[in-house]
């Protein structure tokens, strides 16, 4: 019986796997293994891969039920990435907030430009779960990670002339596509009176839910002032300036009769176009009624004394 064994010369060159593909196969195997490991890592990510999983708890945190990460990151007013509420989530993905630097100037001793890592290094990060009330009439409960604004401002040794502190958002049309349309007078500027800024509540936030701040929420660093309407809590800050005179702020300039410099949450002073008595808590079923808005968004005990004797209808 003849055993058919082909001689090497019978094997056509076209049947031999080219070396490049042969090597590709190894590469493919390596990639597959790597990809499946990554998937496995992803599945356990929330447990250990967060940036600051054990940020200290704060006595200022509310114990209200927090909004989900999906809610907090899918519904944002961040006109630098578009005016629709879903626009920031859609358009901020490509934004790279690192490297980042922050300039401190004006009425203070330690002026300068600092890179983000050096800027935040001196402070202990903590988790602050705060209510956020938007001027549009909706609200959320958000677990920020950050540090005290007052502690940070003191580092730069403001002089006695520092009566206000002004914050500026990055202005870069190529990175923030919403700035290509002049819906607001870019760059976005917000400010606080120095005693407001020195109150223990305001936070410089660098994170959310124990992890770094998503782009659509104001990466890499933003302000959070929980007793004021959300637009005062300026995002993606590149400049901090101490001033003697009250700075011009973006929404106030855009519509002075509608958005005051103070913009403290106040159910008794309506927006000229709509009531501020109630708010819709995001995440509640749509068939449930709105909830009452609280004076100073529920932080009256900590901040009411800042405005004693002021006519809140005039200084809205």
């Amino acid at each position: 019986m003849a055993i058919l064994i082909r001689k090497p010369s019978d094997i056509r060159p076209s049947e031999i796997t080219p070396q490049s593909i042969y090597l590709d196969r190894r590469k493919f195997m390596r990639h597959t293994v790597a990809a499946s490991m990554l998937l496995a890592v992803d599945a356990v990510m929330p447990v250990w891969a967060k940036q600051w999983p054990d940020a200290a708890k704060s006595k200022f945190s509310t114990n209200l039920k927090t909004n989900t990460l999906a809610e907090i990151t899918s519904y944002n007013n961040f006109y630098e990435f578009g005016t629709g509420k879903e626009d920031p989530a859609k358009n901020a993905g490509a934004f790279n907030p690192r490297p980042w630097s922050i300039t401190v100037e004006g009425e203070c001793t330690r002026k300068g430009t600092f890179n983000l890592e050096d800027f935040i290094k001196p402070y202990a990060l903590e988790e602050r779960i705060y209510r956020l009330r938007c001027v549009e009439g909706w609200s959320m409960v958000i677990p920020w990670v950050g540090f005290s604004l007052a502690d940070m401002l003191k580092t730069f040794e403001p002089t006695s002339k520092a009566k206000f502190v002004e914050f500026t958002t990055l202005y870069d049309k190529s990175r923030m596509p919403g700035q290509q349309r002049r819906v607001l007078n870019w760059p976005y500027v917000e400010a606080l009176r120095i005693d407001e800024a020195m109150n223990p509540l305001p936070v410089m936030a660098v994170g959310l839910y124990g992890d770094i701040l998503p782009n659509q929420n104001g990466a890499p660093i933003r302000l959070v002032v929980p007793w004021k309407y959300g637009f005062k809590s300026i995002k993606s800050i590149v400049k901090i300036r101490f001033t003697e005179k009250q700075p011009k702020t973006t929404w106030n300039e855009s519509a002075p009769k509608e958005y005051g410099f103070y913009s403290n949450v106040n159910p008794n002073v309506d927006h000229p176009r709509w009531s501020q008595k109630k708010e819709r808590r995001i995440g509640e079923p749509f068939w449930k009624p709105k909830i009452d808005t609280l004076m100073y968004n529920g932080y009256a005990d900590q901040v009411a004394q800042l405005y004693q004797g002021m006519d809140l209808r005039k200084y809205f």
């Binding site: 899918s74 509420k85 819906v183 176009r273 009531s275 008595k277 819709r280 749509f286 709105k290």
Partner: protein, 201 residues
Amino acid sequence: MSFALSDKAIQWYIKPVLFSVCLLPFVFIVVQAFAGSLGTNPVEAMTHRTGDWALRFLLITLSITPLRRIINLPWLIKIRRMLGLYAFFYAFMHFITYIWFDQYFDWMEILIDIPKRPFITVGFAAFLLLIPLAVTSTNKMMRRLKKNWTKLHKLIYLIAALGVLHFLWVVKADTFEPLVYAIILLVLFSYRAYSRRKSLA
């Protein structure tokens, strides 16, 4: 040459299809509301979408007359009533969303809100003015009102203008979308003014 359609074709095919298509936005809103896929703020989505469709149907209704002349489709007049009634339907749903999900039947607050907030005042006025048009949309009412019917239904121009103003006054800073509606309305107005002058000359 015009593309003619028999009354039968309009009655049995065009109208039922059109009716279903126009109802689709509403069906989607309801289905998504219960599926939880209306976005992070469902009440806002419902409000915006019913309002958008009310405005769109108003403009579509207004464009029927110019369209049937320009592209020579006289039978289009036979579907205008349905489109107008859909404008009323979506305006009504917009109003219901406000009363129910936004204000949760807080009648005191609603009664204060309507005269106090200019954008709500004009929106509410537009809705109220749509009611007589919807009521008198039947053949019977058309015959009964004779010439007055046409006069009465000219109100739709005012209603559309109030609707656009309502939208323009509610936005915070970005006026792009309401301005698009305003421009379309202006084009429709100008066409009407132009063809009227021509017919008078």
